[in-house]
C-alpha cells in the first residue's frame, strides 16, 4: 500500500501539488488520470524517490527502493546496446550471466524487439526506446512499477502489445503497477483502479 498524507510540492514558490490523503494499492494496476499540469508526473517522481524536496508523508509499506522502478515519459537509455540496457538492472543486482541472458532474451521476445538486441539504444526511435525502457524496468521483476504515459510514442499495435505485457506482468508477479494515462480507450482496455487526481487535490472541485 502507498499512503500519501498532506503532500505538498512547490517549484519556485508556486504550489504544484497539494494532496490531503490518497491511498494506492501496491497490487494490481492503478491508472492515474487528469488534465495536464495537475501534478501527475510530480506525484510519480515523489513516489519513485527522485523528487527530493517536498512536504508531507509518502509511505510505501513493504516496498524498498530496490523493489521498484519508474519509466519516465522520456526515459534515458544508456549509450550501449539494447541487450545491455535491459541487462543492466540485473547486473547491478549481481545476477549470474546465464540468468541474465535468459531473462533478457525472454523480454526481447515478449516485446517483439529481438531484432534490436545489438543496436545502440541511442539510435532507436522514440517508440522503440519506450519499449526498451519498459522491458528494462520489468527485467528485475519489481514489486512496484511506475509508468508515466508508457505508450505515448507507440503505434496502435505496439500499444496493445505493451498493455498486454503489463497486465500479464501485474497478474503473474502479483506486482503493483501505477501508470499515468490520458487515453480513455486504454483505460477501458487495461481495467484496474482509476484515480482521477483532480478529486484528491485540495482546492479543486
Amino acid at each position: 500500500m502507498i499512503e500519501i498524507k498532506n503532500l505538498t510540492k512547490s517549484f519556485h514558490g508556486k504550489r504544484v501539488l497539494d494532496i490531503e490523503s490518497l491511498n494506492i494499492t501496491a497490487k494490481g494496476i492503478t491508472i492515474i488520470r487528469g488534465e495536464n499540469g495537475l501534478g501527475k508526473t510530480t506525484l510519480l517522481n515523489i513516489i519513485a524517490d527522485i523528487e527530493g524536496q517536498y512536504e508531507g508523508e509518502v509511505i510505501k509499506s513493504g516496498i524498498n527502493s530496490m523493489d521498484m522502478t519508474f519509466v519516465q515519459q522520456k526515459p534515458y537509455l544508456m549509450n550501449r546496446s539494447v541487450f545491455d540496457n535491459i541487462a543492466y538492472p540485473l547486473k547491478v543486482r549481481r545476477w549470474s550471466k546465464d540468468l541474465i541472458d535468459k531473462r533478457v532474451e525472454d523480454l526481447l521476445t515478449e516485446f517483439n524487439i529481438g531484432h534490436l538486441a545489438e543496436k545502440n539504444a541511442g539510435r532507436l526511435s522514440s517508440g522503440e526506446g519506450q519499449k526498451v525502457a519498459i522491458a528494462r524496468a520489468l527485467s528485475f521483476r519489481p514489486k512496484l512499477l511506475l509508468l508515466d504515459e508508457p505508450t505515448s510514442n507507440l503505434d496502435k499495435e505496439s500499444t496493445i502489445l505493451t498493455e498486454k505485457v503489463i497486465k500479464i506482468y501485474a497478474k503473474r508477479e502479483e506486482a503493483g503497477v501505477v501508470m499515468i494515462s490520458h487515453d480513455n480507450e486504454q483505460i477501458k482496455r487495461i481495467g484496474g483502479r482509476v484515480i482521477d487526481l483532480r478529486v484528491y487535490l485540495k482546492g479543486e472541485d
Binding site: 527502493s65 534515458y76 547491478v92 528494462r136 524496468a137 528485475f140
Partner: protein, 229 residues
C-alpha cells in the same frame, strides 16, 4: 624575409635530423603536461562529476568560483606555486623548485579549475539525469558513479584533452617554477620565448611547428569524440 626562410629551412633540418636537444625538449614538454593532465583526469575530473551529482549548499557560488579560477593567468599560478616550494617556504625542504616536478605541480594547479569546472557543469546538466535513471535501475554507490562516468566518457575525454591543450601551450607557470634550465627544465614554450628574444629562430620555428601539430592532433581527437558522442 630571408631570416624567416632560413629559420624554416634550419628548423626542418633539426626536425628531420632528430636533433637531440630539440627532441629532449619535446619529450619533456609532453611528459610534464601529460602527467599534469593525468592527475587532473584521474582525480579532479571525477571529483567534479561527483560534486555535480549532489545538490550542495552554495552551488551557484561554487560554480562561479570554479569558472573564475579557470581564467587565472598562468604566471599567477606559477608565482603561487613558486612561493610554496621556494627554499625558504613551507615545502622548501622538498627541493622541488626548478625541477620537472615543480612544473607538473604548477600545470596541475593551472588545469584543475578547467577540468573540475567543466566536469562539474557537465555532471550538473546531464549527470543528474543519468544518476536518477541509474537509481531507478537499482544502481547504488560505486555502480552509480561508474555508470555516470561511463555514460559521459566522450565528453569527459574532450575535457581531458582540453586540459592537455591548456597545459602544453602555457608558458608563464613553467617559466617561473622551472626556470628554463637547459637540459633540465626547458620545454617547448619557454624555449620558443627564449629563442625569439635571442633572435635564433630555427629552434623556435621547429618547436612552434611541433606545438601546432600537437595542438591540432589533440583538438582533432576532441572534435571526433565530441561528434561521435
Amino acid at each position: 624575409m630571408d631570416y624567416i626562410v632560413q629559420g624554416f629551412s634550419k628548423a626542418l633540418s633539426l626536425l628531420t635530423g632528430f636533433d637531440r636537444e630539440l627532441y629532449s625538449i619535446i619529450f619533456l614538454s609532453i611528459f610534464v603536461s601529460l602527467t599534469a593532465t593525468l592527475i587532473v583526469t584521474l582525480v579532479f575530473i571525477p571529483l567534479g562529476v561527483g560534486l555535480g551529482l549532489k545538490k550542495i549548499r552554495g552551488e551557484k557560488f561554487f560554480s562561479r568560483l570554479l569558472f573564475s579560477l579557470m581564467g587565472v593567468p598562468s604566471v599567477v599560478v606559477g608565482l603561487l606555486v613558486a612561493l610554496l616550494i621556494s627554499r625558504r617556504s613551507v615545502f622548501g625542504f622538498l627541493g622541488l623548485l626548478y625541477t620537472p616536478g615543480a612544473m607538473i605541480i604548477a600545470q596541475t594547479f593551472l588545469v584543475i579549475p578547467l577540468g573540475m569546472g567543466l566536469a562539474y557543469k557537465l555532471s550538473k546538466k546531464q549527470g543528474r539525469r543519468i544518476k536518477n535513471e541509474g537509481k531507478l535501475m537499482g544502481a547504488r554507490g560505486i555502480d552509480l558513479l561508474f555508470l555516470v562516468l561511463r555514460e559521459l566518457k566522450g565528453e569527459l575525454l574532450v575535457i581531458s584533452l582540453t586540459c592537455f591543450s591548456r597545459a602544453i601551450t602555457e608558458v608563464g607557470a613553467v617559466m617561473i617554477v622551472g626556470g628554463n634550465i637547459k637540459g633540465k627544465t626547458r620545454v617547448m614554450t619557454t624555449t620558443i620565448s627564449m629563442m625569439n628574444s635571442m633572435g635564433d629562430y630555427a629552434m623556435g620555428i621547429a618547436l612552434g611547428i611541433i606545438l601546432l601539430l600537437i595542438t591540432f592532433i589533440v583538438n582533432s581527437f576532441a572534435y571526433v569524440f565530441h561528434q561521435e558522442d
